[in-house]
Symmetry: C2
Subunit: 331 residues, 2 copies
């Protein structure tokens, strides 16, 4: 029998309908990549096309030339721009603000065929360090209120380029998903004096039902009200509001937890398209506050229908308990 489930962290309700007789053909396990009929703008040797680097990992080579392990550049086709004005306008009922914000691209490898499914934990660590560095830097811009780092892997997940890359967007308003999480975290903190996600991790580790992996430093959970089959969150055990204040030395352990999850997705789900999204406290949240950063991984194995898009209620045919059993390393 299906059930309604509320996520304590985000506040959303999901219908978990685990008894739907879905077949393998009902899942999207292809659509991973798409050939580009142009030279890849992110490959080594095309630095001028990709753009001036904001940051890079290099062994002594000169900026904006070859010989790098990772580069951060402004998005060539930005959805938001730091040069935009701040002041909004109101035309009758219609509120408008200029497209202020930052939109950066992390080119994660000089190799065209690299992928999170094949990169080493050390290579993933470089990516996480770049996310951390950019989020710390963008937080210094007083016009911005939050930053989100995210990865689109595969055309099915919205990626337009095959070459391994991720993005950081920083915004002059707090995105709704972050805002809802902050609200829930504050309510719990006010009521109990404790962190909601810390309490949730304690409860989930006690039952074990939805624990995918537990490294001692990070817990990977299939969240109770998972919006999509095989959704997984990697949560640090050590409480912290901001990803950009995480000690650099802890990023290797996060990369290892991510590497393990990706290996399990490759082994059990045929390496599906996915989005990964880093949730860190909005800039004006106190650093010691109730919020607890985490990394959400959303496989794109089912296309949402009209009830999800039009009413805001996901219908998830794979329970998180089953997802955790599939993704867990067999004993």
């Amino acid at each position: 029998m299906s059930e309604w489930r509320a996520d304590p962290v985000t506040g959303h309700w999901t219908i978990v309908a685990d008894d739907l007789p879905l077949a393998r053909r009902d899942f999207v396990l292809d659509g991973i990549s798409r050939p580009l009929d142009l030279p890849c703008p992110l490959c080594e040797g095309r630095e001028a096309t990709a753009g001036h680097e904001i940051a890079a990992v290099r062994d002594g080579t000169a900026a904006d030339g070859p010989g790098w392990r990772l580069r951060v550049v402004p998005n060539r086709v930005p959805a938001l721009r730091v040069e935009a004005a701040s002041a909004g306008t109101q035309d009758g009922l219609l509120a408008h603000r200029p497209g202020l914000g930052a939109h950066e691209v992390i080119i994660e490898s000089p190799r065209h065929d690299a992928s999170w499914y094949t990169m080493t934990a050390d290579e993933l660590t470089l990516v996480l360090q770049a996310w951390r560095g950019r989020m710390a830097d963008l937080r210094r811009d007083a016009r911005l209120r939050a930053a989100v780092a995210f990865k689109n892997h595969g055309a099915e997940a919205g990626a337009r380029l095959v070459h391994a890359h991720s993005q950081v967007m920083a915004t002059p308003l707090v995105p709704p998903h972050l805002a809802h999480e902050v609200d829930a975290a504050r309510r719990h903190h006010t009521a109990t004096g404790r962190c909601l996600l810390c309490d949730l991790v304690t409860q989930e580790r006690a039952s074990g039902l939805r624990v995918v992996a537990d490294s001692g430093t990070h817990v990977t959970l299939a969240p109770y009200a998972s919006r999509t089959p095989f959704e997984a969150w990697i949560v640090p055990m050590h409480h912290g509001a901001r990803f950009d204040e995480t000690p650099e030395g802890e990023l290797g352990a996060l990369a290892a937890a991510l590497r393990l999850l990706l290996d399990r997705m490759a082994a059990e789900l045929e390496a599906p398209a996915f989005n990964a999204v880093l949730h860190s406290a909005p800039f004006d949240e106190p650093g010691d506050g109730a919020y607890h950063w985490h990394l959400e991984v959303l496989p794109r194995v089912l296309r949402p229908g009209g009830f999800d898009l039009g009413a805001g209620v996901p219908v998830n045919p794979v329970s998180p308990e089953k997802a955790a059993r599939v993704l867990r390393v067999p004993a």
Copy 2:
């Protein structure tokens, strides 16, 4: 330059980034249908497989046999069930309710190859009448608080069967998108004494920028903060909170407006996959209240990326002004 836009009806913000240099290949214009390797369960002659009919349009033929123009049956694989219990439980931080609700299927034609793109306005009228009838009936169940009728056309839009069908789901809680619209409508009504959507239609007709069609009885708008390229709302000019209280005679005009929009989507967008979602007031809203029912049509021509899914901010590369110019009947 891109801009942030707030939708006055739903409260959501969208980044409209109309200057992205997208090519035709960046849009999903296929993925419409998928062959089923089983006999279609919705075709005429397979009534026993489809299920006992809750309602039907027949010219004197017997229930549950052939000879029908439209049938409504319980979903064979329901996400929600009217037989489920109401009482929820709380396990520590985790809130759970049984999967109570209704989940019905409207089989829109006995013909396997019918489609909203090819059905006549009269055939679409039958569908809308069925939606109306089912929503009126489900509202009598005191355990339920809202009903949403919706259509998934094409695999890209979440449809699993090719045979023309739509669905009605009725729920024991108000889905979040409806709840947000009710909140915005109430605030506007409290502040002004007027209906928000009536005022919006007045403003949009005055500017004309985002008007796709205007039949005198229905206005088709590309909403100001469209979440997705070519999103369109069909709004009745005559104020009404509940679709199920619309006079039957007005449904033909709604079907004609829908027919015109579909024709334009077929002509200009290659008949893409889409979702259509009917928003009607929650059951406990006063019938003469601030809410105004409408039909939202969401073409699935772009796959959302991680910032939309993970942060809740759509990035729409086609401005609604451009979308309206494309979808409008040329002068």
